[in-house]
């Protein structure tokens, strides 16, 4: 891998694929780094492998197939594609350090486009660490990448992905045993305010699809429980049952597999570690990097596109990736501002059209307070096994923010480096202090972002250093 590139793109999902393809097509020396062993990101995961599997393609549905063109475009372009590569450090000077097959390398980027996508919002509730409990995204990844389907699955949560996976499992002939819908009826009225914006043609397509999908689920005969609260997963060494309230009434189901989902949030580990400014998005209940309309972060030459910028969805991400690529080309002096503006015009329209439905979805599926700020007995840091009650207790003793909580409790110091507890810790501290999450802030994130063996660092050819 050569050490100097015009454009380095991190992440081969829709935003990264579109950005790399455009940048390379305009003659920029472009490198596309991705942690997965095949392109597509999570949304189009295993898209090349499933091409020979029409039965699986039928189960996954037409939106998945859209990824074919994106990946084919990247394969046909001049960008160098490096799969199986984990980026573990990026400096504000745009030095990129990555590990592939047990070997670390460093390279320098003229401009960097971070398209690291999203992760599922952590769903801390009693029993969520037990074997047998997964994320809904994880279940879908098993379907896409390994052709695996769960038997007798209980789905719990809310949001478009939850209903999509339920629909896909129905099509696979393995309908979930039950769907516990946690969406609150209280969301309906405030969501209505965003309905007019969602009645434009592209946005309306999302609504029509969502309604059609819910219709299939109603007819598929799975047990649908509405207005679900107080979910508790029971089991000693693995999940055995789930108890909950539906419209206030206590219920209990025997279940060996439970999948949780409460929407997705931007992956902020990389932008945080570089020192990019972030802001709290009160609509999406998540932090996101502060960006201008081209995707520029607060650090010169470092851009963000797609769901890592705030949740926009896969189709919008594609447009955002190209918009960021035009800006990168402009910063490199390969196109002037007028050519950049002309080039990005169609993608700006596409981005706006696909984003129009988002405020409605955000409000309709806003997570409940019990998920954002769980009860005292709930484990919130899976790595270091810290409960919400422990966080509240250190705040009562004077802890003023997430970094102090980390020192007191080790929350955020395990292998996941706070990815799964960071937002919850910030929410809990803010609520205890009676202030906003924005004021409380987030963990300071330091490299390495992924585990790197000392021997691997020692073996780095110093000639490789940028």
């Amino acid at each position: 891998m050569s050490a100097a590139w015009d454009v380095v793109v991190v992440g081969a999902g829709p935003a990264g694929l579109a950005a790399a393809t455009l940048a390379a097509g305009q003659g920029a020396r472009t490198l596309l780094l991705d942690e997965q062993d095949a392109p597509g990101g999570q949304i189009y995961r295993a898209i090349e492998r499933t091409r020979d599997d029409p039965a699986l393609r039928r189960i996954l549905g037409p939106d998945y197939t859209h990824g074919d063109g994106l990946v084919a475009g990247m394969r046909a372009c001049a960008a160098q594609y490096a799969p199986g590569t984990s980026v573990w450090q990026i400096t504000p000077e745009r030095e990129v350090w990555a590990t592939r097959a047990g070997r670390s390398e460093a390279m320098r980027a003229g401009t960097l486009i971070l398209a690291t996508g999203a992760m599922e919002r952590p769903v801390p509730l009693p029993g969520w660490t037990l074997p047998g409990v997964m994320t809904v995204g994880g279940v879908q990844i098993l379907l896409k990448s390994a052709g695996m389907v769960p038997e007798g699955l209980v789905l719990a949560g809310s949001g478009p992905l939850l209903y999509l996976v339920a629909w896909q499992l129905v099509r696979a002939g393995k309908p979930p045993a039950a769907l516990l819908d946690t969406a609150s009826d209280d969301n309906l009225r405030p969501a209505l305010r965003h309905l007019p914006a969602a009645l434009r043609p592209t946005a309306l397509g999302y609504l029509a699809k969502g309604l059609a999908l819910r219709r299939v689920l109603r007819r598929a005969g799975l047990a649908l429980h509405a207005d679900v609260t107080d979910i508790r997963i029971e089991g000693d060494t693995r999940a055995e049952a789930v108890s909950f309230r539906s419209a206030g009434q206590p219920r209990r189901l025997v279940a060996a597999m439970i999948a949780l989902h409460e929407g997705i949030i931007p992956a902020q580990q990389m932008t945080r570690s570089i020192g990019c400014a972030h802001e709290w998005d009160a609509q999406q209940h998540a932090f996101r990097p502060v960006l201008d309309t081209w995707g520029n972060t607060s650090v010169a030459g470092i851009l963000v596109a797609g769901d890592a910028s705030g949740i926009v969805g896969a189709r919008a991400a594609e447009h955002a990736g190209r918009i960021a690529a035009w800006e990168a080309l402009c910063q490199l002096g390969r196109v002037d501002a007028a050519a950049r503006d002309r080039g990005a015009a169609a993608d700006r329209a596409g981005l706006a059209a696909h984003r129009a439905v988002r405020p409605l979805l955000d409000r309709l599926y806003a997570p409940r307070a019990e998920i954002l700020r769980p009860a005292d007995d709930v484990t919130i840091c899976r790595c270091e096994e810290i409960t919400a009650g422990q966080v509240r207790a250190v705040v009562a003793r004077g802890c003023a923010g997430p970094n102090q909580a980390k020192n007191f409790l080790r929350a955020g110091m395990g292998p996941c480096q706070g990815r799964l507890c960071g937002t919850t810790v910030a929410e809990l501290i803010a609520a205890e202090l009676g202030t906003g999450v924005a004021e409380v802030g987030y963990f300071r994130i330091r490299p390495p972002l992924k585990p790197v063996a000392l021997a691997e660092l020692a073996a780095m050819d110093t000639e490789d250093a940028p």
Partner: protein, 96 residues
Amino acid sequence: MLQRLDPAAATLRLFFEGAPIAARPGDSVAAALLAAGADCFRTTPLRGARRAAFCMMGVCFDCLVEIDGIANRQACLTPVAEGMQVRRQHDAGDGA
């Protein structure tokens, strides 16, 4: 329990805790272990609690296992290989 839509595709063999399990070429180690019914990938350093793959996309680190003698490997990000030796990871993976 997880089932394969096409069981015949699992033509490759690796080992989990010394016992042979079947996998489809291209599977992640985590997928192969789940397909084989494994429900403990590691135990936690603090309480010794059992954990299995949770997010399947490299975020949660609950699928950490030892692969061919190297600890702290993310099973969900590691493709299977013929003859691979996978073991549960106990404690922090440093033998402590």
